[in-house]
């Protein structure tokens, strides 16, 4: 089980790192084996920052991220990531077979049966080994590369997969294939942290959902609860802005502002039922959270 405990991240920005930017505040949740947790939120809300901390590409500024019963040295082979831009994950001058070989050497895995293992992993993501091995990254389409990355991760003793916006560059039918693949991996016991901005796809594949607003968790719980009975005004607005086929923005009637009352002020206070947490978008900070008015309007940018 992957556990995030009060994780925070502050970046230093500006010419000499003179300014600070708090990208993630006090985030706690866990990803159990055989569970897909989706992490949703607007651009800049800190989703990728959390993903990178889970992958140990960035150190947290506060809190801890642990994988149960795993010595630190093995963390890397158990927790792997796939990113939105598959091209940046590949060295353009290496062909696919070489990429897989480097995985083997990098993690000190035995060379015996390696070719068979690679082919099996490729077939399990529905790629034809003959058609992709021997090609350079730019000779493959975005969808093929994305599936190859998942196959690469599968070759390790993977326990947790971090998938950061991996489907946004795929067409509708390939998306469904990749999502169903994640569903199958989950059934094999993998834990998946699924970072997405696509709410309907997050809803389709995940068991639990974490909603972030400016680096803070505002709502989390079982996906059917969060999507079916969203409590935080911010979650409600986010859900209401999903574009839908057959329904044009320009033809929409002016919607009355969704109810914007926010009754959840302090972190840790907001359990509306077991496993459904709603928190203050401002971390309960007095000067920011206009509690006095008993109403918080959180604008979608």
């Amino acid at each position: 089980m992957l556990k995030l405990d009060k994780v925070g991240k502050t970046y230093r920005i500006g010419a000499f790192g003179g300014q600070e930017l708090r990208a993630v505040h006090d985030v706690s949740f866990q990803v159990n084996p055989g569970e897909v947790v989706s992490l949703i939120g607007e651009s800049g809300s800190g989703k990728s920052t959390i993903g990178k901390m889970v992958l140990r590409l960035l150190p947290p500024s506060a809190g801890a991220i642990t994988l149960d019963g795993t010595p630190e040295a093995d963390y890397y082979r158990h927790v792997q990531g796939v990113f939105q831009d598959p091209f940046s994950s590949y060295n353009p001058i290496f062909k696919a077979d070489r990429v897989f070989e480097m995985v083997r050497q990098g993690f000190g895995l035995p060379s015996q049966d390696w070719r068979e293992k690679v082919e099996a992993a490729l077939r399990s993501v529905r790629l034809d080994p003959g058609a992709v091995l021997g090609k350079y990254p730019h000779q493959l389409s975005g969808g093929q590369l994305q599936r190859m990355l998942i196959a690469r991760a599968l070759l390790l003793e993977l326990k947790v997969l971090v998938a950061d916006e991996i489907i946004s560059m795929l067409d509708a039918s390939t998306r469904i294939d990749v999502l169903n693949l994640l569903g199958e991996l989950r059934e094999r016991g993998l834990g998946i942290l699924f970072i997405t901005h696509d709410l309907s796809l997050g809803n389709y594949v995940s068991d639990r959902t974490v909603v972030l607003y400016k680096g803070r968790m505002v709502e989390t719980g079982r996906t059917d609860r969060v999507f079916g009975d969203p409590r935080h005004p911010y979650t409600r607005r986010l859900l209401a802005s999903v574009p839908q086929l057959h329904r044009k923005w320009s033809e929409e009637e002016e919607q009355p502002e969704p109810e914007a009352e926010c009754l959840f002020h302090a972190p840790g206070e907001g359990w509306v039922e077991p496993d459904h947490f709603v928190g203050c978008a401002f971390g309960g900070e007095q000067d920011e959270c206009p509690r006095a008015a008993e109403a918080v309007v959180i604008p979608l940018r």
């Binding site: 949703i40 651009s43 939105q84 509708a172 999507f227 999903v242 574009p243 057959h246 940018r301």
Partner: protein, 314 residues
């Protein structure tokens, strides 16, 4: 008419032969038209976009022509294209947000870019456009790594349209964005058009429900060829090509869950573009295929502004 593409063929040279990524594509774009371009991964959408801007060394212009505002675009002549690129036709490439130079602050990079093209740098206008896409002018003093994916994408959008090109090709510009920025960016594209900053647009996207919001027309490609082009409403509500129908049907409805109902992609995979089969390229996966499909169906106008390449539809 802004754009007229006639029987365009662009292939990639590889050691194993030519990849026929754009194999006889003809369409027009009216003044002010926003066209969505959709189709399965690898069908040639980005190749079409790149062909109108710059052919890299591996791409070969095999045939056909492109006219922009009544002038032939010398697409195969890299040097002569310099006069058109960025000034008259501009491309926001797919994955462009990871292509920003990491060692330059955004503001400095934009200045250098404009200077290298011999174009004027108007700071006021730049700031105004950043506001249009919902960015604060602070981004000019930041490095690309300090911006989130969505912020970078919007920055690239502003840069590509600074010189008010006739034609803008936006390759997957919204796919990295969350729903609210997607909406903002989509509406910005509309606004660019309505304010005549850009005359016409090709918006390449996998998000049909998003592009439906702003596109006048949608064109669907399959395996290097055109399958269908029609007004956006027609593509969504009454598509005639079996591939378009399958594509529309594979969009998840809001509320469907993996554990309750398994959605299905389109079974099978598209043909290799190295030696594509004769006849209709969708034949292997088409539920309606019949013997006639062994000859290639022509891309035919079946109603005003609605063209289809399928024997069952024409």
């Amino acid at each position: 008419m802004t754009l007229k593409v006639d029987d365009l063929r662009v292939y990639y040279r590889t050691l194993r032969g030519e990849v026929k990524a754009l194999d006889g594509v003809s369409f027009t774009l009216a003044d002010g038209e926003i066209m969505g371009l959709a189709g399965e991964s690898g069908c040639g959408k980005s190749t079409l976009g790149k062909s109108l801007i710059r052919l890299d060394q591996r791409m070969k212009h095999v045939g056909g022509s492109v006219e922009l505002d009544g002038q032939v675009l010398p697409i195969a002549d890299d040097r002569r294209m310099n006069a058109h690129r960025f000034f008259e036709v501009s491309l926001i490439p797919q994955y462009s947000m990871s292509a920003l130079n990491p060692t330059r602050k955004i503001g400095r990079m934009i200045e250098e870019l404009l200077r290298s093209r011999g174009a004027p740098f108007d700071r006021k206008e730049l700031e105004r456009r950043l506001h249009l896409v919902g960015l604060s002018t602070d981004v000019l003093d930041r490095y690309p790594i300090e911006l989130s994916g969505g912020m970078k994408q919007r920055t690239v959008m502003v840069i590509s349209t600074l010189l008010d090109p006739s034609l803008l090709i936006a390759d997957e510009v919204t796919s990295a964005l969350d729903v609210s920025s997607q909406r903002a960016v989509a509406q910005t594209l509309l606004e660019f058009r309505d304010r005549h900053l850009v005359k016409s647009m090709i918006v390449v996207t996998h998000d049909l429900s998003l592009v439906y919001q702003i596109a006048d027309t949608i064109m669907v490609m399959y395996a290097g060829k055109l399958a269908e082009k029609a007004p956006a409403k027609t593509i969504v509500n009454a598509p005639r090509h079996p591939y378009t129908q399958a594509l529309i049907n594979s969009l998840p409805e809001v509320g469907v869950r993996y554990s309750e109902r398994r959605l299905q992609g389109i079974p099978g995979s598209p043909p290799s573009l190295l030696n594509p089969p004769k006849g209709c390229r969708f034949r292997d996966r088409c539920p309606l295929a019949f013997d006639k499909c062994e000859t290639e169906p022509p891309f035919t106008e079946i109603a005003q502004g609605h063209s289809v390449a399928c024997w069952k539809a024409i």
